[in-house]
């Protein structure tokens, strides 16, 4: 009994975790308008999705934002991880602590604090405010991804580079960056996904000038059921799954 009980339990939990997603995917191909009953196979919701100009625009806006936010946070996050790994400096513990707190704090706390800042400083709510906010919440995740990679890394290589006369910048470029490349890619993919999915922070810091996908979905699903959302959700699911598999593939391949 003690053999099959844990396995049954695990299977059960996984079924519950995946059931809603499965239903969503199946219903995205449902031709029935009401959304609850099966009316036959159809692609009409995908069609109506791509005929919706505002939706397509929001999709592009989101992708562009996620691309820039992931890139900026990967650059800053990787540099931070390198600094934390290599240097002694004052306030190192505080820096780590602050990153940890950013990662742990409820999103809504971060959201309103940034809204307060943007309105006070006079940054118009739109692309720039979204970008600053997204980079901020992605940053700690990139830092820990890169730190994890650096912690398992042979210290003699950078020492050797230094002995051969390389300065910090050259050493970082020629030795460290190639070593942390997989972590950079994984961190970038994670940042991209976090940015693409964020609802809470974006609700506060976005303006009418730059509409992004999660907020458009939010306004659609607050009332009633919209079959287009099934189609959109399925697309997002396939997209995220691809990203995740890519990131896992990069990380495991580099370990060998």
């Amino acid at each position: 009994m003690s053999r099959w009980l844990p396995k049954t339990y695990l299977t059960l939990v996984y079924i519950l975790l995946y059931l809603p997603i499965l239903v969503l995917v199946v219903f995205s191909f449902n031709s029935s308008r009401t959304g609850y009953r099966w009316g036959g196979l159809s692609l009409e919701w995908y069609q109506s999705l791509f005929n919706n100009h505002a939706m397509v625009q929001a999709m592009w806006n989101s992708l562009w934002l996620a691309l820039v936010a992931a890139t900026v946070s990967t650059i800053i996050g990787a540099l931070t991880a390198l600094a934390l790994h290599r240097y002694r400096f004052r306030g190192k513990r505080m820096l780590r602590g602050m990153l940890f707190v950013v990662m742990m704090s409820p999103e809504i706390v971060l959201a309103i604090s940034l809204l307060a800042l943007f309105l006070l400083v006079g940054i118009q709510l739109g692309f720039i405010s979204l970008l600053l906010a997204h980079v901020t919440f992605c940053l700690p995740f990139v830092v820990i991804t890169v730190m994890a990679r650096l912690s398992g890394f042979d210290e003699s290589l950078p020492e050797a580079a230094r002995d051969l006369g390389a300065n910090d910048f050259t050493m970082t470029r020629t030795v460290l960056i190639p070593v942390i490349m997989p972590a950079l890619l994984a961190g970038w993919l994670l940042g991209f996904t976090l940015s693409l999915d964020d609802v809470v922070v974006s609700t506060f810091v976005s303006g009418p000038s730059y509409e992004i996908l999660p907020l458009r979905i939010y306004s659609m699903v607050r009332v009633g059921l919209k079959p287009e959302v099934n189609a959109l959700g399925t697309l997002l699911l396939v997209f995220s799954l691809t990203m995740l598999m890519l990131s896992q593939w990069i990380l495991t391949r580099s370990k060998r």
């Binding site: 809504i108 309103i112 910090d168």
Partner: protein, 295 residues
Amino acid sequence: MKRRKGWPRMHRVFQQPFKTAVLLLVWGWLLLLVLTPNLLVVGASVMTRDPGSFLSLPLTLDSYRQLFDPLYLDVFLNSLYMAGVTTFFCLLIGYPFAWALSGLGKQRQTLLIFLLIVPFWTNSLVRTYALKLLLATNGLTNNTLMGLGLINEPLKMLYTEGAVIIGLVYLLLPFMILPLYSVFDDLKRELLMASHDLGAGKLSTFLHVTVPLTLPGVLAGVMLVLLPAMGLFFVADILGGSRNLLVGNVIKNQFLDARNWPFGAAASVLLTLAMAVLLFAHRLSQRRLGEEAQT
């Protein structure tokens, strides 16, 4: 080279332009976009509401007093209760889950962890919406139950507190499982066997060895579930109808609709304080374990 105490001398700063630039960049970012905004929120919470410019003087603690107004106190306590129930169910499901998972072969563990983080990478809004398909009055669950003849009338599940709790558990479960899995993964099987060899029964080993050793994971999980469970306003909006169910809804309404910034800020400070308490408890439990391991 002898390391000097005190602030770095200028010539050292110029010797290491790379280090200086990196540190300036990250500190600049964190000070401008994390520390300053949070101080602003604390500042806003002790100011007076102003319809024109959001905030004005004089300084006052009225917003904190307003938190204890029965109307809002009810919301807060109810939100805390719902977050507590959510955390309880996450722990109830997650603890045995992490335990069972850590007992499997390494390769299978990797695969199952992957399957666990797939939802984490998929849009939470879309997943909340998917639950709506299952819970609606004429939704799948009701149709199935009625089709099987188990119930005659559809159960009212959507737009109840229960639906919101289901949604929160569904979204936050991986955040409970992952820290738990990491402590179970570190747990030395030898310790359990030693306890068994020393004559402890299964229950006794569980209570005196397994539970204390996995406590930091439990606390980390609680931290990652309890606070977001109070803040995820969109779950309450989508599954609970448009009522002020969670602290997150209150904060959002105060900032975006009612324009009462001081009050919204005070509510947020309250959440931050709750986080500080939980972080402290987590550190304490880790430190205690560290000391015990050394002796």
